[in-house]
């Protein structure tokens, strides 16, 4: 999809990628490195002083070790949050820019390049409520205030969409009526044909099971099995996942979806339930390997769908801003219980399923 014309962007002095320390294969910015670089005194190449957080409730979506998320948030000189809900991170912001939901705004075109290339117009179904604004409007207004008007040569985003659509042989007017348009495939076959010569993007041009690149950096050229830590006595591995109706943690406050599932449950194998004398529906609290205790209780669900050595909960619950009226305090926030983050030394990817929790049947806040 051709980009709407604008003057060349100047080259930034440094990028998020430049914050990566000792991650030889990280070819883009790594969230945990940005968080680390926001805390004064940490070993970093550049100090990060401000965040602009768009549509991500960080305290509920990015687990960190040693409370680094909160340390970073407190150390920031300036925090802007753009969101459609008053999520917890908005409570820490210096400025909150309320965005309208995707059903109330034009967005970038959906451009699907795969089997059958197609474009789709994402258009509003309703007017924005109160003072909420589309993302493009927020971006443009900030640009204008910064004196960067030359980068925003449009009054309304539909002008950008119309220009782009005309480049690919349709128009805003046409797409408003048809919504989705399939385009002929011009980029060759979707799959590598049987028997065809194909050069992979590796040094040898072949699929590499043994990586010379890794060996040259003193790393294992082939994967070596590393045994993962097992839960200590009376602790369970904490697993988390999604419920199909709640694709994001923010959807837990949507009236219809909240009606379907308003809190998460702690999946416990019935055999474990018998030993621990737990009943389905019973509220419990969790404590993890670092003695972090959950802010809220969670109801037990005895089910054969979980292993004996693990417990499971759906991500996104345990909302911690009272303004999230339907979902505040319902269930446990998995991110809060994840205080050990395993980092892949090659590219900085994170693994969060090495945390262990034990079950508290009494409210720990009352016994203290």
């Amino acid at each position: 999809m051709p980009k709407f014309p604008h003057p060349e962007y100047p080259e930034p002095a440094w990028k998020a990628k430049d914050l990566n320390v000792n991650l030889p294969f990280a070819n883009q910015g790594v969230t945990n490195e940005v968080i680390k670089a926001s805390i004064p005194g940490e070993d970093t190449t550049h100090q990060v002083k401000a965040w602009m957080v768009a549509g991500t409730n960080l305290t509920q979506s990015v687990p960190t070790e040693n409370n680094m998320m909160m340390k970073a948030i407190k150390a920031l000189e300036f925090l802007v949050v753009i969101d459609i809900y008053p999520v917890e991170i908005a409570g820490y912001a210096d400025v909150v820019l309320p965005e309208c939901s995707y059903l109330e705004r034009y967005d970038d075109l959906r451009n699907s390049e795969f089997r059958t290339p197609s474009i789709a117009l994402r258009m509003p179904a309703a007017e924005p409520r109160w003072e909420s604004k589309p993302g493009w409007w927020i971006g443009k207004q900030i640009g204008l205030k910064l004196g960067l008007g030359e980068y925003y040569k449009f009054n309304d985003y539909t002008e950008v969409l119309d220009w782009q659509l005309k480049q690919v042989g349709t128009s805003f007017e046409e797409m408003k009526h048809i919504g989705v348009k399939n385009l002929p495939r011009t980029s060759g076959p979707l799959y590598i044909e049987d028997g065809a010569e194909h050069i992979f993007k590796t040094d040898s041009g072949k699929i590499e099971l043994y990586s010379q690149k890794l060996k040259d950096l003193g790393l294992d050229p082939m994967p070596v099995y590393t045994a993962h830590e097992q839960p200590p006595k009376d602790y369970f591995r904490l697993n988390y996942g999604r419920a199909p109706m709640h694709t994001f943690s923010k959807t837990v406050n949507s009236p219809n979806l909240n009606d379907l599932r308003s809190e998460n449950t702690l999946w416990v194998n019935p055999k474990v339930g018998k030993i621990w004398n737990l009943k389905s529906g019973q509220p419990v609290w969790l404590k993890n390997q670092d003695d972090v205790v959950s802010s809220f209780p969670i109801k037990v669900r005895l089910t054969e769908r979980i292993r004996w050595d693990s417990v499971y909960m759906v991500h996104g619950f345990g909302q911690n801003n009272p303004e999230m009226k339907r979902s505040y305090g319902k269930g446990i926030n998995d991110t809060e219980m994840i205080t050990k983050v395993m980092v892949d030394p090659l590219m900085g990817g994170t693994g969060m399923r090495g945390n262990f929790v034990t079950i508290l049947t009494e409210n720990p806040k009352e016994t203290v």
Binding site: P244, M245, N256, P270, R305, I306, R307
Partner: protein, 174 residues
């Protein structure tokens, strides 16, 4: 209606579609998703079912209704005539599928209509039309060429509460 339990993810899109299409009051539903877990870990089988009124041929709700508000229309859909319903709830008690509820504002009994207002226009019921995995099929079982009839001819299926003898018309492929 034929529902493929092997394709259902339990997303409950069918529930929200029905609620919005039919102005179902908040906290109530005409269709819902049931999860049944069989076996013990690690030999566990999970079945997800989108459930609703079974539009039975031998409908106990119709037999127990004192005012003939509950009735079967041509084609087999079971409906409640709102003007005749006195909200006595006998049909709710008699339904083996627990598919009916008393409307909190109107005081009458409400349930799935197979979106008869859409079906009359040749459209699928709302739940069928939104299903992201296309696990639901709606059609005429008396027509052997229909998709629903073909699926029942080819696939293994079951109905719910067969022992109740209601001759239900929602079939689950298993």
């Amino acid at each position: 209606m034929v529902i493929d339990t092997l394709k259902c993810l339990g997303c409950s899109d069918c529930v929200v579609a029905c609620q919005t299409e039919n102005d179902v009051p908040s906290g109530y539903c005409r269709d819902w998703v049931t999860e049944s877990v069989n076996g013990t870990y690690p030999e566990v089988a999970i079945e997800l079912r989108s459930e609703r009124c079974n539009h039975c041929d031998n409908a106990p709700c119709v037999r127990t209704c004192p005012t003939e508000a509950s009735h079967i229309i041509e084609g087999g859909i079971v409906l409640v005539e709102r003007d005749l319903c006195i909200g006595c709830g006998a049909c709710i008690e008699s339904c083996p599928y627990d598919a009916r509820y008393k409307h909190p504002d109107l005081g009458i009994v409400d349930k799935c209509t197979f979106c008869v207002h859409r079906v009359k226009k040749g459209q699928d019921p709302a739940c069928v039309s939104v299903c992201p995995t296309n696990c639901m099929y709606f059609g005429d079982l008396d027509d052997s060429n229909s998709k629903v009839a073909q699926l029942l001819a080819e696939r293994k299926y079951k109905v719910l509460a067969k022992e109740a003898g209601t001759s239900p018309n929602v079939y689950y492929l298993i």
